[in-house]
C-alpha cells in the first residue's frame, strides 16, 4: 500500500473531525449569540474580587 493512501485517509479523517466539531458547535448554540461571551469573558476578575477575604491569591491581582 502506498503512502499516499495513508496520508489521504489521515487528512480526510482530520478534516471530517473538524467538520464534526463545527456541527457540534453550531448545534450547541455557540453561534446564536456572538456578543455576550465576549463581555462575559472579562468578568473573571470581578468574581474573584468578591472572595477577597478568603483567599490570598486574589490580593496579587488587585
Amino acid at each position: 500500500m502506498s503512502a499516499i493512501y495513508i496520508l489521504l485517509s489521515i487528512s480526510i479523517v482530520v478534516a471530517i473531525g473538524f467538520f464534526i466539531a463545527f456541527v457540534l458547535a453550531v448545534r450547541s448554540g455557540q453561534f446564536d449569540d456572538d456578543y455576550t461571551p465576549s463581555v462575559r469573558m472579562l468578568f473573571e476578575d470581578e468574581l474573584v474580587k468578591e472572595n477577597q477575604k478568603q483567599t490570598i491569591k486574589t490580593k496579587k491581582i488587585n
Partner: protein
Amino acid sequence: MEHQNCFHCGDNCDSEQIKYDDKLFCCNGCKTVYEIFSENDLTCYYDLQASPGSAPKEIQGKYDFLGQENIIEKLTEFNDGRIQIATLYIPHIHCSSCIWILENLNKLNKNITSSQVNFGKKTVRVTYNSEKSSLQEVVLLLSTIGYEPYISLDDFKTGKEDINRSLIYKLGVAGFAFGNVMFLSFPEYFKGGEFWLEQYKHLFRWLMFAFSLPVVFYAGRDYFTSAYKGLRAGILNIDVPIALGLVVLFVRSTVEIVLNLGAGFFDSLTGLVFFLLLGRFFQQRTYSFLSFERDYKSYFPIAITKISNGIEAPIQVYDIEKGDRLLIRNEELIPVDGILINGRAKIDYSFVTGESDPINKTSGDKLFAGGKQTTGVIEMEALKSVEQSYLTQLWSNDVFSKNKEDGFTTLTNTISKRFTIAVLIIAFVSTSYWLFTDSSKAMNVFTAVLIIVCPCAIALSAPFTLGNLLRIFGKLKFYLKNASVIEQLAAIDTIIFDKTGTITSNKQSSATYDGAVLSTSEGIQLKNTLRGSNHPLSRTLYDILDENNIITLNHFEEHLGKGIESEHQNDTMKIGSASFVGYDQDTSILNTTVHITSNDQYKGKYTFFNSYRKGLSKLFNNLKTDYDLVILSGDNAGEMENLEKLLPSKTKLIFNQKPNDKLEYIKYHQSEGAKILMIGDGLNDAGALAQSNVGIAISENVNVFSPACDAILDATKFNQLYKYIKASKQAIKIIKWSFVLSFFYNIIGLYFAVTGQLEPVIAAILMPLSSISIVAFTTLATNLIGRKLE
C-alpha cells in the same frame, strides 16, 4: 445650577434626594436596589459602568398570575417538577453591568442555579429549583433589582421556538467541501503528466465527487426548490439559471470522470455554492433585538385580575367574557373594551394612538383595549372579548396575513428573466453551429455555455450591496426588516405621514398665551404653582415659562384631572381646565388649553400646539419635488392652520382618519398605481403600515415596542429620511453597475465556452474572480454611500 445624578440609575435627582452610604439616590427604589447589591457583595455592578440601573417599579400583585400552573407551563422551556428553565425578555439590558448582575443572580437567591444572558436578544435564561422557589419569585426578584421582565400575551402563544440554523450548516458543508475539492483538484491544474499524479488521479477525482455530493444535494438544495417553485408559478427567477448551472456542472463532471474524459468542474461547483450561500448569509443577518412582526399580542398582558363575588383572582386574558368585572392596577394595560365602574381612570393611549397625554375617564365612560391606566386602581366591566375589541379587530384584516415580498419582483429577478432566455439562445445557437462543424464537440459546448454563464456574480450583486447598506443604515439607527425593503424604498412615489408621534414629537410642545397680561407677582406665582405639579401639561408649561424666583406657597392643592390651586400672600390662583376655573366661554374645543384665574378673576389661557420634529419643513421641501406627500391623521383638524404654514402647499392634509380608514386610503391609491411609503408610530397605524409598500415606524426608543412594519427609524434621525431614500436609490444603481461588470465576465467566459476551449482551470479562475470582484465593488461602493450619509 449643577445637576446631581442618581448613583444607581443616573437620573437627575433635583426633585428628591436620598443620601445613603455617601451616595446620592433619586428615589427609595434605587436606594433599595443598592442596599441589596451591597449586602450581597455585588457592588461591582457599579464599577463596570457608571449608573447602570433603573428604578424598580411598583409591582404589587402584578405577577400573581405566575402562580397558575398552566401559565408556568407555557412560559418555561423545561420543567421536570424539580428544575425549571425559563427565558425572560428584559428590555432594560443595555450594558456590561447588566450582564454581570444577571449572571450572578444565584448570589441573590440560592435556589437559582444558573442564569445566562443573551445580550443581543435582551433575554436571560434562568434555571432554578422549582421545589424551593418559583417562577413568580424569580420574576419578583428581577423586578426588585430593577430588571423587570416583559411578559406579554405573545410569550403565551409561541411557546418553544426552534432556532433555524440550517444556513450555517449549509455554509459549513459548502465551505468544507470547497476547500477540500480545491486541494484535490490542484494537481489537475498542472498538466505535467507526472507518473504518480497520473496514477492517483482517479482516486482524487472520485474523492472530489464524494465531496460534491453533500454540496449539491444538501447545501444547494434551496436553489433547486426555489427554481422549481418559480417555474411552476411561471417566473424565471434568478435561481432558475443557477439551478440549471448546478445540474449541468454536476452531471457533466460526473460523466467526465466516469468516462475518464477529464477532471470535471467540481472545484467550480463547490465554490459556486459556497459563494452563493455566503451572499445569502450576509444578507440574512438581522437585528435580533428588534422585532418587525409585532401585533397587539406583544403589548397585551397574559393575565388580568378578575373580581367575582368579592374575590380577586388572576384570569387569562383569552378567558375574559362579556360581563366580567376586572381590576386594572396602576401601569396595567386594559385588555378588552369595557365600561369603567369604579375609580378614577387616567388612560394613556400612546400605544394605540401615539398621543402621549393621558385622558381622564369617569365611571360609566367607555374604555378601549390598549390603553394603560396611569393612576391608581380601577374596576371595569368587560363589554367584549379580547379578539372582538375595537383595537384587536384591526388584525383580522387579511392584510396582516399577506407576505409583502410575494408581490414584489426584485431587480435581480427582473434581469434574470431576460438573462435566462439569452443564455438558452446562445447555448442552442452555438451547439447547432458545432453540430454542423464538429459534432463531437457539440455537447461539450452546450454544457460549457450553461456552466460559464451560471449567474453567480449576478446573484451576489444584490445580497452584498443591500446587505452592506442594511448594516450601514443600522449604524445610523434606521433598522430594516430585510434587504428587499431597500429596493422597495427606492421605488416609492408617494409618502404618507401620520401626524401625532410621527411628525410631532412626544416630548415637548409649545404654547401661546391668550388673555390679560399677567403681573410680575402673578407670573412668579404661576411658575411656582406649576413647579409642584407632575401633570404633563404642567411640566410643559413650566419648562416654557421664564425662570423666576422660587417662593414658598402658603397653600398648594392638586385636583387630579382638573387642575391645581395655590395661595401665596393672600393671592389665590387656579390653573386648569375651563370648568375647573369656572370659565364657561371656551370656544376652542379642538385645542388643548389651560386656563388661569387669579383671585377668582379670569386671566387668560395657554393654548398648546404640537411641537413638530426638527427639520420637518426642510425634509418636506426636499421630498416635495419627487414625491406626493400626504398627512393622514387620526386627530381632529385643530392643527390644520399650523401645518399649512409649515409644509409645502401641495401637501394633502387629511384628518379624522380611523385606523381602518388609513388602510383603505392606502389601498385605494395603490389600486391606482401608487407606490406608497407609510410612516407612522402607534398601533393605530399598524394596518396602514402593513398595507403600504414600505411601512416605517418612528420610534423614540427602539427598545420600546413598535407595531409590525418593514423598518424602524429612530426619531432623532427623522430629518435624515430623504438621505436614506436617496441612498436606497443609489444602491439600486450600484446593483445595475455590478450587473454590467458580471456581463463583462460572462462575455469572456462565453468566448471560451462557445469556441469549445473551456478548461476546468479557466472556469475555476473565472468563477471566483468574478464573484470576488463583484463583492469588492459593491462593498466599496456602498461604503462610499455610507460615508456620505454620516
